[in-house]
Amino acid sequence: MLLIHCPYCDETLPEPEFAYAGEAHIARPADPMALSDEEWRDFLFIRSNPRGNHFERWRHVNGCGRFFNAVRDTVSDKFAMTYRAGEPRPNLDALKEAAE
């Protein structure tokens, strides 16, 4: 059971309050009908699936209800950080420096 920091509640809380919600920073195209079949396929199905830091979405579904973003290491399962939906993708190098 992981502990997850909700950036809206500003509290670190147990995993049962949260639900995973897929990869982050994949915005729905403003005009889907303008996309080629290949572009739409990529939007629908193609995900980065990295070994290591993954930008992903969680929802504090049994809490404040908000979707938010997180950086989590897919090898260790550890969260590097969480941040609010709509905020830009954080710079991982800066993150690493801050941790050191």
């Binding site: 059971m1 639900a19 729905r28 009908m33 629908l44 579904v61 979707f67």
Partner: protein
């Protein structure tokens, strides 16, 4: 009973309190504080079980939870039988029934022991090599044989009447292990003010100190110091001490699972007491002070009853006042066994000899042994034992320059062995913390940590009470370190400490044919040294392969005694160093844990939540049969006397089609969509147009995923310009709300609209049938229910039977229909009011089965039954539900993808069997040509199939490739023994023009 091996007044058991229990039917007397193992040993009983594969007689090897041999069945009445309980952990209680395992007809004479004679024919990998062919032998010969041979003990056959508890716990410092290191850590952490929890799996906290009464700490005897330390800890409000509590798993972010045994030691079960409690502890810091586990030595006959670990004998002596024999011999590669031998000699046990595989042993030890009259045989090996059900002699040989000299036998009734100590790092391994081989300690020690934890004492290779205390205090202080907290590192003056060292041995050298030796490594799985060497000869190179091929370390003790011995021998056979061969992985749980503890509250009726509606109790009282629908239980049908399901459903169907039925529709998901942008939001989410829907009107809504496939559907009513009452499927309610929230929060946060789940705010009663209006009219105030004033797909807020209501005119049956929503507290009262009013109109209650039949007669889909996540609106014949003028909605772009517009997709059609009496099986596969060779090309499957009472024949719906181009075509449904024929038709069987709705 005499207890000939009990030493009066010795040990920590209560000699004034006899406790009687039975072992294999024989009454045995122990003392309060005994384990089953210690009580049996006190009575001179060493034979406690038979081994798993060879059925060899076995006795107790250890005194703790690592015990591989002394596994017993325990019982305290029906349903309270537990197999594979370690006799070294089960405390005696009055009336306990214990039995040995893997024996028939009796423990001392066992027919299965023939396997032992045949042992040379069932080596490692035997099963893999033997049970291969012929294939036909599997069912009749091999599987029964393997099942017969496999497993330890018997499974209980009755339901477990006990219940189990669950508790979450949060603390600053969790300390696992209550020996000197753990105690010192607890004192340091506790004194700092940190919230500290100390857990120990034994009945008594104290660890090694319980077996080392001769050590003096701070000028006190070890037991006095222990009592004082525990007393001090108990006075601290920030410290919690938990005995009989095993840390079973170490999970992410310092979550540790504990299993606390609450009642297994009690003579009388307190009424309503849980048997065990599973704790989920979240700790800021964890201190692992689990000590070390003594290793057996590997030699021929090392599994004979009476051969045990030297440290275990020391524990039985000091903790339980039990001598394990009258004339013992010792074989060791480590100093610690010498001390155990000295303690036994002091207690009056004749120590026949101490055999040490090392040529050089500290002079202080040999001198002491000689002074006690013990024969010292350094530079010797053990090459065999004798004794049928208990060791009688041990054969010892000198070793010089690698050559084994002539053997001689020494008579003994117990043989104590010590191959050194393995730091207990199982929990540390659960965290994927890495281990590194320490040549000096001859052990794997903790290396890289992944969690906020400290390892203290023997766990990191520190031997002796002084070192453990000092290191525990250090670890406790480090773990407690936090802003505002001061943790001092205590120092401890220790006298009489017994530090020591040893060498790591593989199997002991012998002058006999090693191929004939039964030198066991894994006692529980009957793995011998030669099995490991065979595995390496047969090509296993990785220790993981050796483990699986030989099953070494795969029994319930997870190789606590065997892993390192197995590794040393594998490494030797491979010609590599131990660290190059590596260790296998330990996984939770640390020791076998009951399913009851793991399930805890989720047992019986609480295995899963059962959601009930406000009308559920009425249905139950009326004799409804229920079915689960997602987490809900729903009335399935309402049988009357003498009716089976078919008859009840037929009657319910007839009543709805000819009179009126009432149905509890409360479980439908309901979402209040409210705000100025409510219509805009629904336009984007659903395929249908909403902007022009007038308040007071409803529309069927179809929800797709972005991939274009149907996710959910339901009627949506517009109550006001900015307020919609959205309904979803019962199972889809939470999913749909989550999906809507996702789009709203992350794609369109600019929209002023909010979603509130009202599923449980409203109880819903559906009235369906030609008499529905007549039934309802008198109960509705100030509202014209006529078709002109309140037509199909109208909605209004009004009063029904005196309750505030949202009244929908909708139909999921094809009949005139209404759905009445009232606040849930009034659901039962509304239902009963309608029931009363309906008596004059032939009302019947109906359940989900009738609902399914009636909707299928109309061809209405059930999402998840007639769709499967690959069905588009066009596939389902719901193209009409797509707003043609809409430029975008969730899933629209996908409806133009090449494979979605391609010909030949599976489409929903009706099927009418040629034989009208035959009801097809849902899920049955459909083929175009029944004469094609197997495997046939399947072109679809039946999704819904029922007996239609209205038509007096069966009906079905199916997803069939190019289905709508096959109207009138006969398709085939191959079933066991016969092939059924059915004609493709439009899926709308009753009142296809919808005349019945226009009344």
């Amino acid at each position: 009973m005499s207890q000939p091996f009990r030493i009066a007044g010795h040990g920590r058991v209560d000699h004034a309190q006899p406790v009687r229990f039975t072992f294999d039917g024989r009454t045995v007397e122990g003392r309060r504080g005994d384990t089953v193992a210690s009580a049996l040993l006190a009575n001179g009983i060493h034979l406690m079980g038979r081994s798993f594969k060879y059925h060899r007689p076995r006795g107790v090897v250890s005194a703790g939870s690592e015990e591989p041999n002394a596994l017993i069945g325990t019982s305290r009445g029906p349903g309270r039988f537990e197999p594979n309980t370690r006799a070294t952990m089960q405390e005696v209680r009055q009336g306990l029934t214990a039995e040995s395992q893997n024996k028939w007809p009796s423990l001392s004479f066992d027919v299965g022991a023939i396997n032992d004679r045949l042992g040379r024919f069932i080596p490692a990998g035997f099963y893999y090599k033997t049970f291969k062919w012929p294939r036909s032998f599997w069912d009749k010969v091999y599987e029964p044989f393997i099942r017969q041979a496999a497993g330890l003990g018997k499974s209980p056959t009755e339901a477990d009447p006990d219940h189990y508890a669950s508790r979450h716990l949060h603390c600053d410092v969790l300390i696992v292990g209550g020996g000197p290191a753990g105690l010192a850590a607890a004192l340091a952490a506790g004194q700092s003010g940190a919230e500290t929890v100390l857990v120990d799996e034994q009945a008594e906290i104290g660890g090694t100190l319980l077996s080392e009464p001769g050590v003096r700490i701070e000028g006190q005897g070890a037991w006095d110091w222990l009592a004082a330390a525990l007393a001090e800890l108990r006075t601290m409000p920030n410290v919690r001490l938990m005995s009989r509590t095993t840390a079973i798993g170490y999970y992410h972010q310092n979550m540790v699972g504990l299993c606390e045994r609450l009642t297994d030691h009690l003579d009388v079960l307190p009424e309503g007491a849980p048997r065990e409690r599973l704790w989920r502890v979240r700790a800021g810091q964890v201190v692992l002070a689990q000590g070390a586990i003594e290793k057996p030595l590997v030699f021929d006959g090392n599994d004979r009853p009476g051969v045990m670990l030297a440290g275990a004998a020391q524990t039985f002596l000091h903790r339980f006042g039990v001598k394990v024999g009258n004339r013992v011999a010792v074989v060791t590669s480590h100093d610690s066994a010498w001390h155990g031998a000295f303690d036994l000699a002091h207690a009056g046990v004749k120590v026949a000899a101490i055999v040490d595989v090392r040529a050089e042993v500290p002079r202080v030890l040999t001198a002491r042994a000689e002074a006690l009259g013990i024969e010292v045989l350094t530079g010797h090996t053990v090459t065999g034992t004798t004794g049928r059900l208990r060791v009688a002699t041990v054969r010892v040989n000198p070793v010089q320059g690698g050559r084994v000299g002539a053997g001689r036998t020494i008579a003994c009734d117990a043989l104590l062995m010590c191959g050194g100590w393995t730091p207990s790092l199982h929990l540390f391994s659960h965290t994927k913390g890495s281990l590194a081989w320490d040549a000096e300690a001859g052990a794997f020690l903790p290396d890289r940590k992944t969690e906020e934890c400290e390892i203290a004492g023997a766990g990191r290779g520190l031997w002796g009470v002084a070192a453990a205390l000092e290191d525990g205090a250090r670890a406790g202080a480090a773990a407690a370190k936090a802003p505002g907290r001061v943790a001092g590192v205590g120092t401890f003056a220790v006298e009489g400490d017994r530090t020591g060292s040893g060498v790591v041995a593989k199997e002991l050298p012998t002058d006999r044919d090693a191929g004939l030796a039964k030198a066991f490594i894994d006692f529980q799985n009957d793995v011998t040294a030669k099995d490991i060497r065979l595995a390496v000869r047969e090509g296993m190179r990785s220790i993981e392969h050796v483990k699986r091929y030989t099953t070494n370390g795969m029994a319930t003790d997870q190789g606590k005694l065997s892993n390192i011995n197995g590794l040393m021998i594998a490494a030797d056979a491979l010609g590599k160093e131990a660290p190059a061969v590596g260790l296998t992985t330990f996984r939770p749980p640390y020791t076998p844990t009951t399913f009851g503890a793991l399930a805890n509250l989720r047992k019986g009726r609480h295995f899963e939540v059962t959601r009930r509606t406000a009308i559920d109790a009425w249905a139950e009282a009326t004799g409804a049969v229920f079915e689960p629908v997602s987490l809900w239980r729903r009335a399935w049908y309402f049988p009357q006397a003498g009716e089976d399901m078919h008859k009840a459903v037929a009657r319910e169907c007839r009543a709805v089609r000819t009179a009126v039925g009432m149905f509890d529709a409360s479980t439908l998901g309901k979402i209040e969509v409210m705000g100025p942008d409510a219509a805009t939001f629904l336009e984007r989410m659903y395929t249908n147009p909403w902007a022009k829907l007038q308040p007071g009107r409803c529309r069927y809504g179809l929800l797709l995923g972005e991939d274009g496939f149907i996710r959910d559907d339901g009627v949506i009513g517009r109550l006001a310009a900015d307020k919609f009452h959205v309904t979803t499927t019962t199972g889809g309610a939470a999913r749909v709300l989550n999906m809507m929230e996702d789009y709203l929060q992350t794609e369109w946060p600019d929209l002023d609209v909010w979603l509130t789940s009202t599923t449980e705010q409203w109880a819903v009663v559906a009235l369906q049938g030609p008499n529905a209006r007549k039934l309802l009219e008198p109960l509705v105030e100030g509202l014209d229910l006529s078709d002109d004033a309140f037509p199909h797909m109208a909605v209004v807020e009004c009063t029904v039977a005196g309750f505030p209501a949202r009244l929908f005119r909708v139909s999921f049956t094809g009949e005139l229909g209404f759905e009445v929503n009232v606040p849930a507290r009034h659901g039962r009262a509304l239902w009963e009011a309608l029931w009363q009013a309906g008596q004059a109109h032939g009302v019947v209650p109906y359940g989900t089965e009738t609902m399914h039949v009636l909707r299928a007669e109309k061809g209405f889909i059930i999402v998840g039954q007639d769709t499967d996540g690959t069905v588009t609106p066009q596939d389902a014949g719901l193209g009409w539900a797509i707003g043609k003028a809409k430029t975008d909605f969730v899933g629209k772009r996908s409806l133009a993808r090449p494979d979605i517009v391609a010909k030949g997709r599976k489409q929903l059609v009706g099927l009418l069997t040629e034989d009208p009496a035959v009801v097809l099986e849902e899920g049955a596969q459909i083929v175009a040509d029944p004469n094609q060779p197997i495997p046939m090309t399947m072109i679809g499957h039946v999704t819904s199939s029922y007996w239609s009472e209205a038509l007096g024949r069966s009906i079905a719906m199916a997803l069939v490739e190019g289905g709508r181009d096959r109207m009138g075509e006969v398709l085939h449904i191959p079933m066991p023994g016969r092939t059924l024929r059915a004609k493709v038709t439009v899926p709308n069987f009753v009142d296809p023009d919808g005349q019945k709705l226009k009344v």
